[in-house]
């Protein structure tokens, strides 16, 4: 693997996010707006709802939308012939995929920071130390791998970027409704148990709730997210390489 090539591609990926208004909105403004709207809506004690309890779900909520961005980005690249053109150069597939994964990990970490800082204004208090915050950021970076993988799977089965946008909701909606801040019932729990976002939110809730960072439920959540995210991203890469770039 040529690190210089990987970083050249990573730089381009990050430039895209800064220069394309749609990406700026989805990646950075969306989590910010979401935090502000939910902050105003649920921080009133008269409602009997605690913003503190739902804030961890917001971190995962923002990260789930990476699925749509990745699906759109790969479908666009395929439609415009860019992926073919890149494939003609000596660049290795691992360098390209590595740059995509790194870019999205950086985005996920920035999203955590945005939500974390804004949530403070609505009374969110993280009952943890600096290591807890670092662990939360790391957790979301790993969780973003599953979003990259699901984005690749979406791009593989989509014929165009428009279709990819629509199909990405197949993976976004279940994670959004059953794995973030919406209360889980006994009916929805079996669905939630197979969703990475459920474990990400659960771990964040424990971290910010003041649990020991090596508490068994945090370790189990961490292990689950790591394994599932790794499997999903590998599956996404294999499927896209085999069927997606035609």
């Amino acid at each position: 693997m040529d690190i210089r090539r990987l970083f050249a591609l990573l730089k381009i990926e990050l430039k895209k996010i800064i220069r394309e208004p749609a990406y700026v909105f989805l990646m950075f403004l969306f989590p910010a707006v979401l935090t502000i709207v939910f902050g105003f809506a649920f921080s009133d004690p008269e409602l009997g709802m605690s913003f503190n309890a739902m804030a961890p779900g917001l971190f995962a909520y923002a990260c789930i939308f990476i699925i749509m961005i990745v699906a759109q980005s790969f479908s666009d690249g395929r439609e415009q012939g860019l992926l073919r053109r890149l494939a003609i150069t000596p660049m290795k597939a691992s360098e390209f995929m590595g740059s995509q994964i790194l870019a999205n990990m950086i985005i996920a970490m920035l999203q955590v920071l945005i939500v974390f800082i804004l949530a403070q204004f609505f009374g969110f208090s993280a009952n943890t130390n600096i290591f807890g915050i670092i662990l939360a950021i790391l957790l979301m970076a790993i969780f973003s791998l599953s979003s990259v993988g699901l984005g690749l799977i979406t791009a593989t089965i989509s014929k165009s970027s428009g279709v990819a946008t629509g199909l990405s909701f197949l993976f976004i909606l279940p994670q959004m409704f059953f794995g973030t801040f919406i209360p889980i019932t006994s009916t929805t729990r079996p669905i939630a148990m197979i969703l990475p976002s459920y474990y990400a939110t659960d771990a964040l809730r424990s971290i910010f709730g003041g649990s020991s960072l090596i508490a068994s439920n945090i370790l189990i959540d961490f292990a689950f997210i790591s394994i599932v995210s790794f499997v999903i991203v590998i599956l996404g890469i294999i499927l896209f390489k085999k069927y997606g770039n035609k």
């Binding site: 090539r5 381009i12 895209k16 012939g81 003609i88 000596p90």
Partner: protein, 274 residues
């Protein structure tokens, strides 16, 4: 139209500097590509047993109507698609067994304008250069040289989102040779260009020959093939119909131009297939 022709006619074809014992840049033997037909239909024979050689330093043209098999042939040679049968090598490297070596030697100007729309022209050029692991200083120097040769200085500072078709074609061409390739594949490189840009591009391609670089050019512009190519292969329906220098082919088929040659062989005009 008359003005266009006169501008293009002023182009001087470079001298033929090929020696008979020059090394082979491309060696193609019985190359086939069949695409699986839809249910109940036969396979589509996109390329059907094509064989030819291209010598180092030669400008070699693949001439034929749309759908003749030109781009499919190129796509096999650059490793984008696998041949159904046959072999091909680039400077002695087998395209299937040593593709990574092949990629270091070639540059490709694809038919589609595949560039990053959110980057400037120069950023695109430098990105693709960096994928060939070119040292930063060399890359900057090379980008400056190519931008100046194609009079692309102003455009190179702007984002490609607002480029015209001709500007995108020029950028496509610059990217394809940023790595100083020994062999460049140019797939319809002048589509969408105005006569001035096309003439500059012809001169530019001619200069590649003076630098003893090999070019495989596909085009359906007869005058382009005649003006630039040392030899051309005419292909249609995936089969190679004839091969030779434009002059020899015109003499052999008693015709004034390559369009006439194509017509004598197939009974159709090249433009009819478009």
């Amino acid at each position: 139209m008359a003005e266009t022709k006169s501008k293009l006619k002023s182009y001087q074809k470079p001298e033929n500097i090929i020696n008979p014992d020059d090394e082979l840049a491309i060696e193609v033997r019985g190359l086939k590509k069949y695409f699986k037909g839809k249910k109940g239909f036969e396979d589509v024979k996109a390329v059907d047993g094509v064989s030819f050689n291209v010598k180092s330093g030669e400008i070699f043209g693949l001439l034929g109507p749309n759908g003749a098999g030109k781009t499919t042939t190129i796509n096999m040679l650059i490793g984008l698609i696998k041949p159904t049968d046959g072999t091909a090598s680039i400077y002695g490297y087998d395209i299937q067994e040593s593709l990574s070596d092949v990629k270091e030697l070639i540059g490709v100007c694809p038919q589609e304008h595949a560039v990053f729309k959110f980057l400037t022209g120069r950023e695109n050029i430098e990105l693709f250069g960096s994928l060939y692991s070119m040292p930063k200083e060399d890359l900057k120097k090379r980008a400056d040289e190519l931008i100046s040769k194609l009079d692309f200085s102003n455009a190179s500072k702007r984002k490609t989102k607002g480029y015209s078709g001709g500007m995108l074609s020029q950028l496509n061409l610059i990217i394809s040779i940023i790595n100083n390739p020994k062999l460049t594949f140019l797939d319809e490189p002048t589509v969408g260009m105005d006569p001035r840009a096309r003439r500059r591009t012809w001169e530019f391609i001619g200069n590649l020959k003076n630098e003893r670089r090999t070019v495989l050019l596909t085009t359906h512009y007869i005058e382009e093939a005649q003006a630039l190519c040392d030899r051309v292969a005419i292909i249609d329906y995936g089969e190679l119909l004839t091969i030779g220098s434009p002059k020899d082919l015109m003499k052999k088929y008693e015709s004034d131009n390559l369009e006439g040659v194509f017509m004598k062989i197939t009974g159709r005009r090249i433009m009819e297939g478009m």
